[in-house]
Every structure is written in C-alpha cells, then in structure tokens.
Symmetry: C2
Subunit: 157 residues, 2 copies
Amino acid sequence: MASIGDMVAGETTNRIDTQLSEFIGYGMKRALSIVQADLSRVLSEFGLRAVSFSALSIIVGHPGLTQTQLADALQIERSNLVTLIDELAGRNLIIRAPVAQDRRRHALMPTPAGKKLAVAARAAVETHERDLFSCLTGQEQDDLKRLLKKFRQAASA
Amino acid sequence: MASIGDMVAGETTNRIDTQLSEFIGYGMKRALSIVQADLSRVLSEFGLRAVSFSALSIIVGHPGLTQTQLADALQIERSNLVTLIDELAGRNLIIRAPVAQDRRRHALMPTPAGKKLAVAARAAVETHERDLFSCLTGQEQDDLKRLLKKFRQAASA
DNA sequence: TATTGTTATACTCTATAACTATA
DNA sequence: TATAGTTATAGAGTATAACAATA
C-alpha cells in the first residue's frame, strides 16, 4: 500500500536523481545502459554480443588486420581479445591467417559466413537504433551523433 | 619500424572504427569511457568512485530515503548496494537510521562529514566536466545534456 | 631487445537465489 | 504472503604479469 513513506522530500522516487542528471557523464551512462539492453537483445539473435559484433564488423571492413590493431581499435587488451577471436574463429566467422612477412602476426580474415552474418547483424543494429532513437527527431539524432564524435576526437587528443 | 604492414586497407589504425562510429550507441560507449577515466581520477582524491559519489549525492539531496529507493534511483541491485552503504557508513559519511514506523527499513542520513564531502566532491566533478567538455561550446554542451535527458525520458517509458 | 599472441590470474561489476526480520 | 535488508555466489568484464615464438 502506498503511503507518505513512499515519498522522499515530497518527490516521487523516479525523479530522485535530478541533480546527477545535470552531469553529462551521468546522462551518458544512464542512456548507454538503455541502448545496451536493447542492443544485447537484438544481437543475441545472431549469437553475438556488442563486442563480438564490433570485432566482426571491423574485421569485415578491414580484412587482414592483426589482433593488436583490432585491440587498439576496440580499446580492449590484447589478452582479452584472444578468447573473443577464438569464439569467432570457432564459429567459422573469421580465420587467423598466417602473415608471410612476420610469423608472429595473425591476419584476421572474415569467412563468407562471417561477412554474411556481419551484414545481417548490421542491418538489425541499424533497425534497433532507428527504433530506439525515434523519440528524437532526425536532426536531433544527427546532432547527438556529431556531438559525441566531436567530443571523442577532441578529448582523446 | 613503420611499414606498409602497419596500415590496413590504406587507412591509419586510429580511424579503423569509422563504420561503428555511425552508431550512436558506439559513440556513447567510447565517449563515456573517456569521461569515466577522468572522473575516476578526480573522485579518487576524495576516496570515492562514481557510484559512491552518486549514492552519497542522492542521500545528501534526499535524506531519509531507504536502500530500496536508492537502489531504484541508481538502477543497481539492492544486494549490490549493501557493501556500498557499508563503505560510506564505515567512513562516517552516512548513517543507517532506524525507521520507527517500519523496522525493516533504514533511513539513510548524511553525517556533517558526508555533507561536506559531497559538496567538495560535487565542485570537483563540476570542474572536471567543465574542463573535459570545454572542446564543445556552451550551446553544444547544453544540447548534448538535453538530448541525453530527452532520450532517457522517452526510451525508459 | 622489442613485439605478437597467449596463458594465468586477480579484481571489479553485475545478476540471482535464498535467508532473516519484519510487515 | 509480501517486503527490506542481507549473504553467498556465480558470471561477466577488465587489468596485469609473464611466457614462447619471432623479429
């Protein structure tokens, strides 16, 4: 049963973080968690997680790159990439091809199945974003994308 | 030594994720990790993490709320809140006050030290955001904040 | 000596189930 | 029966050090 005890300082509990929402970082974190929940649901139909979708997409777009390059691109540790690559290779979505000039390196190459899955998953992710961000106008979506890009470029330099 | 092997498909490795950057979610994730790294550095001077700063801020702003209410506000599990509250209480920043009307509940109250730390930490976080987002104009910062808020409100409904 | 991929490991974060005391 | 806080635990995710093969 609802009572005055369910209120805090006269506010409903679903607006209790107003002060924190003044911080862009907090807004980003809460927004991202909404996106991630929906994205995970979408990608699970392809047997992918966000990080494996990202890895596969980059390998398809840049065939022949090495694990170190991929780790740098995704900002994850090389060591943590190993099992991810194992997973994709185990499903025959990519292969670790030997590099003649440097036998330490593996050239990551997508298989036909990997390319096909990447294309299908990308379409699903595009639909997911279109639906999820339909609450924003096209202009607002572009603005948001642009501001995030601008911030990333400037702040990581 | 640099060589043609350091390039992938004729691009430098630091722009290898262009395709993924078309996704707002990807942009959010990468932007957030930059913010989090800087925020962690700033808050460590107060012995706080992002989540403990958030919890303390909410308790200061809404004294008397219960752990369940706080967990709902921060979107974390009640079970995972316990050690966080233990930590803040152990440092005498908050207390778990008994609630006369319902002895199952704890009213979370900030101590004077907790209020003082929250104010100081908030000022530091404001400075951190001002500096970090100085690469965006004031208008752009407001736009970003507004778009994140609008998305959160619409998408979580 | 340095780099690439790898293994092992530890630490944090998060999610779930079950318990207790209260209602 | 249901709820608030708690405990225990398992699964992700992430960070670090050290190793073998190769440069």
